[in-house]
């Protein structure tokens, strides 16, 4: 898929995220919009996985540690054909499998996540099994910057380096906001790169909304033989909707009818531009 096609997909995905969050009157809007381009590039350019081969032991794995931005994952999985998009009309509704965090009841979801600090240990175990069996699958996990203070991340970061897991790629959706405020003010984790490097990882920074840059960074995996890779994706919470960008209340804010209309208009305008470019 070309960079242009992916850019158009991203806008449509954003429209869908807002559509289903607006309908459900619930969702993690800001974070879903910040990690969306990463998921788009992963599922449409990087991951060797499809609805048909989801049970294959050789498939690439994606484990979403920041489970709360599940709306982005649902929208991308639906587009990839894991389930009919109309299923998302049941998002957060009584008895729906499409709850506010990923579960394996939804086709395409690898692990039940939502409690933070779980994705990396699960990914380390999965990557380790791949090494044991000489399989060439890769394991990707997406972390939020706000979950980095969870100690289990650092325990797993040690293990990943200890076992030389170059089939593991962690991505940090570094939007620099969490529910209470700036991540640097809630619990400063900077410098993230130096910390992971000192743990034995190879770290690359990328603009998490630059499709081409994301494609290139993932194309260069593994960054170094025998070392786990970390991508620090610099993102903007609420990306794509002007009044949501970098505004705290959209962590799990749900747009009003008027706000929703404005957001759709902005995205439609962006779509028109994207087609012309």
């Amino acid at each position: 898929m070309t960079e242009k096609e992916l850019a158009i997909k991203s806008i449509n995905y954003r429209k869908n995220i807002l559509k289903y969050i607006y309908a459900a009157k619930a969702g993690h809007t800001g974070g879903s919009l910040s990690c969306l381009d990463i998921l788009n590039v992963l599922y449409n350019h990087v991951l060797r996985v499809s609805p048909q081969d989801f049970t294959s032991p050789n498939r690439d794995r994606y484990i979403q540690s920041k489970g709360h931005t599940v709306e982005a994952l649902y929208v991308v999985l639906a587009d990839k054909g894991f389930f009919p998009e109309s299923d998302l009309e049941t998002l957060c509704k009584y008895k729906s499998h499409y709850i506010g965090h990923p579960t394996r009841k939804v086709h395409g979801v690898e692990q039940n996540t939502g409690a933070l600090g779980h994705g990396l240990p699960l990914s380390v175990g999965t990557a380790l099994a791949g090494k044991m069996d000489d399989r060439d699958y890769r394991v990707f996990t997406l972390l939020g910057d706000g979950e980095l203070p969870e100690g289990s991340n650092w325990e797993a970061a040690l293990t990943a380096a200890h076992y030389k897991l170059d089939n593991l790629c962690a991505i940090i959706d570094h939007n620099k906001l969490q529910i209470s405020g700036r991540t640097s003010e809630v619990c400063n984790t900077d410098p993230i790169d130096a910390k992971f490097e000192s743990f034995g990882w190879v770290v690359k920074h990328v603009d998490g909304h630059d499709i081409k840059a994301l494609m290139e960074v993932f194309d260069s995996l593994p960054f170094e033989k025998d070392k786990p890779s970390l991508v620090i994706a610099h993102t903007i919470k609420g990306k794509g909707v002007s009044y949501m960008e970098d505004v705290l209340k959209w962590h799990h804010g749900v747009p009003s009818a008027d706000e929703y209309g404005r957001a759709v208009k902005e995205l439609d305008d962006a779509l028109a531009v994207a087609y012309i470019e």
Partner: protein, 320 residues
């Protein structure tokens, strides 16, 4: 000085030792058997296993949350994983990982709590696991079991390796004499009648079954009381059929466990009995709601009446 349990033979071992040896046998035939440890291969008697099968053991270091998460990841990729760590740390520090990464995500890890209960004795309450049954009983989708003797231990491990389901097993360090075999195969969720009886049922689990059996001997020889003894190795799913049968066969029930009296075997039995209108004299023996007195496991058992004499005394009182 408190007497150790009698009737040990030269071949009796600690259940923990049998666990490690059984795993060795299984690993020889199945390269997917993987042990994950948190610097606990020594206390888990897994030294020889690690030497024989270096590719089938993953050392995590002292990091129990990561131990369980990594174990779940390995299991999701098809490995038959035994995550081995002291029960006290495994089921408290890593409880969220057991709940979410093993049980909720349905990754069929076998979580093995070693040196369980008060096995660590005088090392104190940080090292005791008197909460594990209680917390895990409230977690959906995990089997909880405490094998009583070497036979049950070996069978439980062999069965666990074949069972594609989350399981928590706990083992102690004490040498356990063989219990009389009733010939029925070991099965999770099916208690074993160790001795038949008609007056009082003594229902133990793990290392309390043996003193319960000794108590039954005292009751019969010295008091003419006929006691039925059960190894209720599986706490969840509890063997409701056997419990219902016991209510028809006996007049009173004593449960005995190396666990807090809150939330363990006793309360699980009481819950079933009350809700099925089985109103009968009933006593829960275990560790009371306090931080335990200092002592060895044997001394702690004696202090809280988890001995043959203590159990017999409670049974007599219950029948009066």
């Amino acid at each position: 000085m408190i007497a150790e349990a009698e009737n040990k033979t030269q071949t009796d071992k600690a259940n923990l030792e049998v666990f490690a040896q059984t795993l060795e046998e299984l690993a020889a035939a199945d390269k997917d058997i993987i042990v994950v440890t948190s610097d606990s291969r020594g206390s888990g008697k897994l030294g020889p296993y690690g030497q024989k099968y270096p590719k089938q053991i993953v050392e995590i270091g002292i990091a129990e949350q990561n131990l369980v998460g990594v174990a779940a990841g390995l299991a999701s990729a098809g490995k038959k994983v035994f995550a081995v760590s002291p029960a006290c740390f495994l089921t408290a520090r890593a409880l969220e990982q057991i709940k979410n990464d093993i049980a909720y995500s349905d990754n069929p890890v076998k979580a093995i709590g070693i040196s369980a209960g008060v096995s660590y004795g005088a090392l104190g309450s940080t090292h005791h696991s008197l909460h594990d049954f209680a917390v895990l009983r409230a977690v959906n989708n995990i089997i909880i079991a405490a094998p009583a003797d070497n036979y049950e231990t070996a069978e439980a491990i062999k069965l666990a390796a074949k069972t594609n389901h989350p399981i928590y097993l706990r083992f102690g360090k004490k040498v356990m004499p063989a219990l009389p075999a009733d010939g029925t195969p070991f099965e999770f969720g099916k208690g074993r009648i160790i001795k038949d009886g008609a007056d009082v049922a003594l229902i133990g689990t793990g290392e309390t079954v043996y003193p319960a059996l000794k108590a039954a001997e005292i009751l019969e020889k010295e008091h003419g009381i006929s006691a039925l003894v059960v190894s209720m190795h599986t706490i969840k799913p509890l063997d409701y059929d056997l419990l219902a049968d016991i209510t028809r066969r006996c007049k009173a029930i004593v449960t005995i466990e190396e666990h807090s009296v809150n939330g363990g075997l006793g309360e699980a039995c009481a819950s079933f009995l009350l809700q099925h209108k089985a109103y009968m004299p009933f006593k829960i023996l275990g560790i009371p709601d306090e931080y335990t007195i200092t002592g060895s496991q044997t001394e702690i058992f004696a202090h809280y009446g988890l001995t043959e004499k203590g159990i017999a005394k409670e049974a007599i009182a219950l029948l009066k």
